[in-house]
């Protein structure tokens, strides 16, 4: 960003830490942007005329005589329809070699939606993945993370969800993405031929850590533009929120804040809520849906990051490798979509809730039968049948590479029920049995 004539320039830093520096300056606003020796920085604390700046790219090599230039405004993003199809860095500057975006400049991290103006989410997002559509249906305006261990293929699954979901725009916010994963997303989007409805804000592991604090707000500001100005259905992908939180804890540590649980800042809940609560169904039809990734350490969901996330988001999705079919599935037991009640059986076929519950119950019986088998007990005839059912259920419906619509999922479920069980074992309401239980 070029220096302009009226900007104030200071050249004497009082203190420098790994992420922040302090300069004596006057007439500076809170949250204001500046550059320190050409690196972008933001005001985080003002006491008297001591202004503390957080330098996104880190302070390596910054001298006490570095030039500090204040911009007189908070971080902004230029928004316009030509954002579509483009790749940007954490500052909103193009990294795909294309031209700058023209359009209005919007402050990022803007105000919240008035709760009484929100609409109740009621529109289903179909992904073709049964672990989601059948068991944990997503709804526009929802926010939901994948809780995944680092070795799980969460980026692949998320790209698949994004590409299959029927949305007008997909906005990727990549935080601490490895260069390989960044290229994976890029290729996945290009190969799918949908590049014109995708916008990416990417901070890779090659970029400075603190920069990634800007990424979610950049992505969500772009999302708000398309959802309010164009009334579009926008899907925002945020990966990986754990790395975002790590950056938060670094900054809070440098500012001498007292850490709370797991060395995270005490404001972690509010910080995350401010992002996730941007998911909304607007009254005029536009919506923002957030699908995020929170990586876990050894599956521990009591760690402060997944724990606070769980209290904010509307459910969570777990991936699991099903050893029967050696494929990844969305875990039917631990995953939960809190908003599914708003659409299943209403926007989908009326037998959906009952078929969903019955299939999961039978799948649970199969898990018990497996435990029995492992402990060396004999299996009953019912046990044998649920095991057969579970395998086919995984293979024909749950496997992540199966791509079918919800009606087909329900039809296959009925077929499997009928193949392995009698009417009493299914225990579904008579009105549905009459409709879908085919006479032999």
């Amino acid at each position: 960003m070029a220096t302009q004539a009226f900007q104030k320039i200071y050249t004497k830093l009082n203190s420098i830490t790994k992420a922040t520096c302090t300069v004596k300056a006057s007439d500076v606003g809170n949250d204001e942007l500046a550059t320190v020796a050409g690196r972008l920085a933001q005001v985080v604390k003002i006491v008297g005329d001591d202004v503390t700046l957080q330098i996104f790219a880190g302070t390596e090599g910054i001298g006490t005589d570095a030039e500090v230039v204040f911009f007189g405004k908070a971080p902004t993003l230029k928004v316009g329809s030509d954002l579509a199809g483009r790749f940007f860095n954490a500052y909103g500057d193009p990294i795909d070699g294309g031209p700058d975006v023209s359009g209005d400049e919007l402050e990022i991290g803007g105000p919240s939606v008035n709760p009484v103006r929100r609409k109740q989410p009621s529109e289903l997002i179909a992904t073709g993945i049964a672990g989601i559509d059948l068991n944990n249906t997503l709804v526009t305006g929802q926010k939901i993370p994948f809780f995944a261990d680092p070795d799980q293929p969460y980026n692949e699954v998320m790209a698949m969800v994004a590409l299959r979901a029927k949305s007008d725009k997909i906005i990727l916010g990549g935080m601490g993405l490895s260069n390989d994963d960044y290229l994976f997303y890029k290729h996945a989007f290009e190969n799918a031929g949908v590049i014109d409805r995708i916008i990416s804000f990417v901070n890779t592991t090659e970029d400075p850590t603190v920069e990634r604090l800007l990424v979610p707000n950049m992505a969500l500001t772009a999302a708000e533009y398309f959802a309010t100005e164009k009334n579009e259905k926008v899907l925002v992908l945020l990966t990986d929120m754990t790395l975002y939180c790590d950056a938060l804890s670094i900054v809070s540590n440098r500012m001498d804040q007292i850490p709370s649980k797991d060395s995270m800042p005490g404001s972690l809940y509010s910080d995350l809520a401010k992002l996730y609560e941007k998911a909304v169904q607007f009254p005029d039809g536009g919506s923002i849906t957030i699908i995020a990734v929170t990586t876990l350490s050894g599956g521990d969901i009591t760690h402060a990051i997944p724990d606070n996330t769980g209290y904010i988001t509307e459910g969570q999705l777990f991936l699991k490798r099903d050893t029967d079919i050696s494929k990844v599935i969305v875990d039917p037991f631990r995953s939960l979509s809190r908003l599914k009640q708003l659409v299943i059986g209403k926007k989908t076929r009326t037998d959906h809730p009952q078929v969903m519950n019955t299939a999961v119950r039978l799948y649970a019986d199969a898990a018990n039968a497996k435990t029995k088998l492992e402990n060396g007990f004999d299996l009953s005839d019912y046990d044998e049948r649920v095991l057969d059912f579970a395998k086919e259920y995984s293979e024909e419906i749950l496997a992540i590479d199966v791509n079918i619509d919800t009606d087909t999922m329900l039809d296959i479920a009925w077929k499997l029920f009928q193949r392995h069980f009698n009417k009493a074992e299914i225990g579904i309401k008579d009105e549905f049995m009459k409709l879908y239980w085919k006479k032999a």
């Binding site: 003002i46 919240s112 008035n114 109740q120 005490g266 009254p283 009591t302």
Partner: protein, 584 residues
């Protein structure tokens, strides 16, 4: 008025250099380019006042001017609050323009143009003081009392009162004379600082009356009382919010105040959408007509979140002073504690456990102590029953907010992850949870008199059955089905019968979602009757199918109208099943 100038800004903590006197908790407005940001003084050091701003401080600069107001954070009280949706500072959210909240937009909590049918209660010449009823106006189905402002503590004389008629809330409805002979005109509006309890009552006895919630695991096993306090801790996904919504829909209260404190906006939207549609089972009116929602969702400013619970409590105290039975629900008090932590952290106070402020237990218990059952001056009674949720970090109940709350609240409804996972809703753990009120002799007398002569004994017995069942189950799991005496299976399944019929409740079923006390009493006596019987089994394999059969019939009974033909039919069927194996 004192004025000041901004000196320092750390997130929403703003240091202001003041030119005159300033008091703790005083409200001030910071002028940011023409927009006025509301803030509260939370510390004073020399001539520097530390203020927490209820809005985003983006763009605020040293040198910006500040005006102090000489009063603390107040709510505006008067007729017209019912059915309103307020933010944490009592701004009427519906009056705000635009889809997005605008910084510095403050709206009137009352409707100054609305008119009300006033009927006087007091007469000219009456000696009156703060909290006395001057007259009443009908607000929805509530008789809203117009009271002498609570701050008027001396004895005043009522000089004149407006005759029965239609008035605006700003019209003068009474003139009173103070001890010095000065006349004061009163209208229907009064203001009160939220951090100070309203104490316009003569006595606050121990609560003794049962407060029905319609939720069996609460009413039967660990009852809440009118004016009692309780809290619901539970990990995410255990059903805290669903349980609170269910209580708010079914509780036997005159009005409900729901403080959505730092939680999901979509959950509040659910109330906005459902409550105007749902019927209140007692009055037949819509639920919204007895509800006030204070909504400060997690993305709204943190400082206002802290204020929101106090705003809700003060409005509750106002309605209690009219002789009403108020139920106050807060979801979740942990978010309020976290707001305190954020501020304490910015003020660089020495931290207590988990970085919460040292005085957290004191703050929590002070807040809970504002609930209670009271005798008002005229002899009428009123009550605030308070139930808060707690969201313990990592689901671990050994954390500061849960521990502080446990010391303050008298009822503990622990939600268990294991019960939630096995879809046993409501997931209140019957063995860990408790109601201290069950030990109060007043409450015991009330229950035995009004529910059933042996009620307290029966409830204790039910808890024993559940505990014995759990012990039997543990033994069965260790020793195997055939490694334990047959009676262990019987004990376990008797506890399952109690669990599945009395404790578990279908919150989405029209009939089962709320159970009146009479029906709870009938079902408990029925189930205890079965549990007292001996049954004959040949082997342990017979036990489960037999009890499952009984459980299914009893569950059908829960789903049909009490004492209807279907109910009788299922009961007869149950009797036949009982006879099949009953020991002669």
């Amino acid at each position: 008025m004192t004025k000041g100038i901004v000196k320092g800004i750390i997130a929403n903590l703003v240091q202001v250099e003041v030119s005159g006197p300033v008091s703790q908790n005083e409200i001030c407005y910071i002028n940011l380019g023409g927009v006025k940001l509301m803030a509260e003084v939370i510390k004073v050091l020399g001539s520097t006042a530390y203020t927490q701003v209820f809005e985003s401080t983006r763009g605020l600069r040293p040198g910006d001017t500040v005006e102090f107001t000489d009063h603390m954070l107040e709510v505006k009280l008067g007729p017209g609050m019912l059915s309103k949706n307020y933010d944490g500072l009592q701004n009427d959210l519906n009056k705000m323009q635009g889809v997005f909240l605008t910084r510095g937009e403050y709206t009137d909590p009352l409707d100054e143009d609305s008119t009300w049918e006033f009927t006087p209660i007091a007469k000219a010449g009456d000696k009156i003081s703060g909290g006395d009823w001057l007259g009443s106006v009908p607000e929805s189905w509530i008789s809203h009392k117009i009271m002498v402002p609570f701050g008027f503590e001396a004895e005043y004389t009522l000089k004149s009162i407006a005759p029965k008629g239609t008035y605006k809330i700003t019209d003068t409805i009474a003139t009173i004379t103070d001890p010095d002979g000065q006349d004061i005109e009163l209208n229907m509006i009064q203001k009160w600082p939220v951090k100070i309890p309203i104490k316009s009552y003569t006595e606050k006895p121990r609560p003794f009356k049962l407060m029905e919630t319609g939720v069996r695991t609460i009413d039967t096993l660990n009852p809440m009382v009118e004016g009692g306090t309780g809290f619901i801790p539970g990990p995410f996904g255990a059903g805290k919010t669903v349980l609170q919504h269910s209580i708010s829909k079914n509780a036997d209260a005159d009005m409900i105040i729901f403080a959505a404190c730092g939680e999901r906006a979509n959950e509040v939207v659910e109330m906005f959408v459902e409550f105007p549609e749902l019927d209140d089972p007692r009055t037949g009116r819509k639920l919204m007509e007895r509800t006030i929602i204070i909504c400060n969702t997690s993305n709204m400013p943190v400082a206002a979140r802290e204020a929101s619970v106090y705003t809700a409590m003060t409005i509750a105290e106002y309605y209690r002073s009219m002789g009403l039975k108020v139920l106050l629900l807060a979801d979740s008090t942990s978010r309020w504690a976290q707001a305190l932590r954020e501020m304490s952290n910015r003020m660089e106070e020495l931290p207590g456990p988990d970085a919460f402020p040292m005085d957290l237990p004191a703050i929590v218990s002070n807040f809970y102590s504002r609930a209670g059952f009271v005798y008002l001056k005229g002899g009428a009674t009123g009550s605030i029953t308070f139930i808060g949720t707690v969201s313990p970090a990592g689901g671990n109940l050994k954390e500061p907010v849960t521990e502080s709350t446990k010391k303050a609240a008298r009822c503990f409804y622990a939600l268990s992850q294991a019960r939630a996972d096995s879809k046993r809703y409501p997931a209140v753990d019957p063995i860990d949870s408790y109601s201290k009120y069950l030990e109060y002799t007043e409450v015991q007398e009330y229950l035995n008199k009004n529910v059933h002569p042996n009620w307290v004994k029966d409830v204790t017995h039910t808890k024993d059955l559940l505990l014995r069942g759990r012990e039997a189950q543990e033994q069965i799991n260790i020793l195997g089905d055939d490694g334990v005496p047959l009676s262990y299976h019987d004990k376990y399944w008797k506890s399952e019968l109690v669990d599945r019929i009395i404790l578990q409740q279908d919150g989405f079923d029209k009939i089962d979602q709320s159970t009146p006390m009479k029906r709870q009493e009938y079902m408990l006596e029925l189930i205890l009757g079965i549990c007292a019987m001996d049954f004959v089994f040949e082997s342990y394999e017979d036990v489960m199918p037999y009890y499952i059969k009984m459980i299914n019939i009893c569950r059908q009974m829960n789903y049909v109208e009490f004492d209807g033909a279907d109910f009788k039919r299922y009961e007869d069927e149950l009797k036949n099943i009982i006879e099949e194996r009953r020991a002669k």
